[in-house]
Amino acid sequence: MNIIEVNHLTKYYGKARGIDDVSFQVNEGEIFGFIGPNGAGKSTTIRLLLSLIHPTSGSATIFGRDCVKFGPEIRREIGYLPSEVFYYDRMRVIDLLNYSASFFPGDHTERMHKLAALMELELNRRIEDLSYGNRKKVGIVQGLLHQPRLLFLDEPTAGLDPLMQHKFFQLIREENKQGVTVFFSSHILGEVQRMCNRVAIIKEGRIIETADIRTLQRNNYKKVQVVAENLSASCFDLPGVTNLERLGGAVRFFYKGDINDVVRRIGEQKVSDVTIEEPTLEEIFMHYYE
C-alpha cells in the first residue's frame, strides 16, 4: 500500500516557484529519501503534505486520504521533525512535551521519558536556555512521542553531534523495524545512502529521478576510467557517456547504457589500466545537477 501518494503537486508563491508538477509514491514501511540542494523544494513538499501550505494545483494523499481535506485525521498518525526547531521559549522542556502530547489521544508519558533518556535530554530546562542541538533533541522526542505511523524528517541531523546522529539513526531504524514509514529529506547524501531504500531527487522544484537506491548506484551509472597511449577523448563519443574529462593520459567519464558497447570501445585501444566502478551517490547527484 502507498502511504504517501503525490500527484502532479504544484506550488507557486505568487510567481516564485515552490515545486512544479511533483509526483511520487512512498510505500508502507520504507525509508524514502528526498534529496536535493537547498531551495530545490524539499521543505515546500513536506509543508504541502502537512497542509501547512496549500497547493496551487495537484493533490496528495496520505494513508489513502486527501491531505487538505483530512488534515487533522491524518496528522494524528504523523510525526514531524522540522529542519529548524522553534518552540515557545519560556516553557520548560517537560511542559512543551506534555503540551504536544495533549493533542494526541492516550497517555504518552512513559514513551516521552524513554525517548528523552535515550537522547540525553534534560526535561526541566527552559527552551530558551537550550543550545541548538538540544532544541533538536526536543524536536526528536516531540516528533516521536505519540508513536506516529509516518515520520517526516526535514534535514534532521543538522546541529546534532556525531554521537547523537548515530543514536538518532539507530532510533529511526528501530522505529522503521516496528513498521514506521519514514520520509527522509536531506542534502547530505551519505546519510541518505546509509538510511534509505528508495530516493527521489528534486531539482529546481521538479523530480528528476525516483529510484531504488541500489538501482541508482548499480544499474544505471558506471564510473569508467581508462589509461592508454595516444588516447583521444573522441573514441568514447557514445550515447550515454557524460562528464567526460581528460587527466594526463587517462580519460574519465560516467556511462549509462549497455556496458558491452563501452567494453568493445575499450578493447579497440591499447590500454594500460581500466577501472569500471559504481559511482558514489554523491557523484550521481553531482551529475544530475550539472
Binding site: S43, L52, I53, H54, Y80, F86, D89, Y99, F103, F104
Partner: protein
Amino acid sequence: MAMNIFRHEFRTNLRSVFIWSASIAVLIIVFESLFLSFAQQAELLNKAMANFPPQLLTAFGLNGVDLSTVLGFFGYTFLFVQICLAIQAANYGFSLVSVEEREWTADFLLTKPIKRTRILTSKLLAALCGLAITNLVVWAASFGSISLFKGDKSYDAAALFLLLASIALFQLFFFFVGLLISLMVKRIRSVMPYSMELAFGMYVLSVFGDMLGTSVLEKITPFKHFEPNYIIQNGRFDLPLVLICVLVTMISLVSSYMLYVKRDIPSVA
C-alpha cells in the same frame, strides 16, 4: 474549542493582561483623584475655556464638556482609557496568530491533529477572556474611584453604566480589525507599531471629524461610535453608529476565519 490550547494561550497572556489592567486602573484612579480640585475651580476653568478658540477645544475633546460634574469629568478622562483599551485590544488581535509565525512556533501548533478553525477559536476565546478581565477591572476601578473621589456630588449611575457597557464592543472592534489586518499582511515583525497606528489613527480620525465638522469620518471610528461625551449627555448610544461598529467587527471576524483556514504558513529559511 480545544481546552489545551485555551489553557496554554490564557497562561501565556496572563502577565500582559495583568499589566494592562493594573495600568489602566491606576490611570483611572489618578484622574479621578484630581476631580475635586477641578470641580472646586470649575467656574474659573469654564470661564478660561470659553476664551479658547473652539477648534482647540474640539482638538482636545473638550467642546461642550462640563468638567465640574462627576460624569463630565469622568467622560473626558475616559477618552484616555479608551485609547489604552484600543491599543491593548489591537495588540492582542495583531499578535494572536502572527506571534506564532514571528517566533516560528506555528509549525509546532499547525502540524497537530486539529482543525485550524478550532485552533483559532481556542486562541480567540483565550484572548477575549483576557480582554474581559481588563474590562471588569475598568468597571471596578471606575465605580470605586468615582465613589471615593466624588465628594458630595451626585451623578447618574445609569449613564455611567451605559458608558462602561460600551467597553466590550469597543475592545472587540479593535481586536478583530487587528486580527484581520494581521492575516492580510505577509508577516508582522513587531506588533506594537501596528496597534499604535490603528488605535491612534482611529482617535485622530474622530478628532479630525470634529474639527472639520464632517460626519463621514465618524462612521469609521469607534471613538465616535462610543463617544463618552455623547453617551453621558444623552444617556443612550448613538444606535446607527453602534450598529456600524458591530457590523465591521462581525465582518472582520468572519473574514479572519476564512483567511486563516487558507493561510500559507511561512517557513523559516
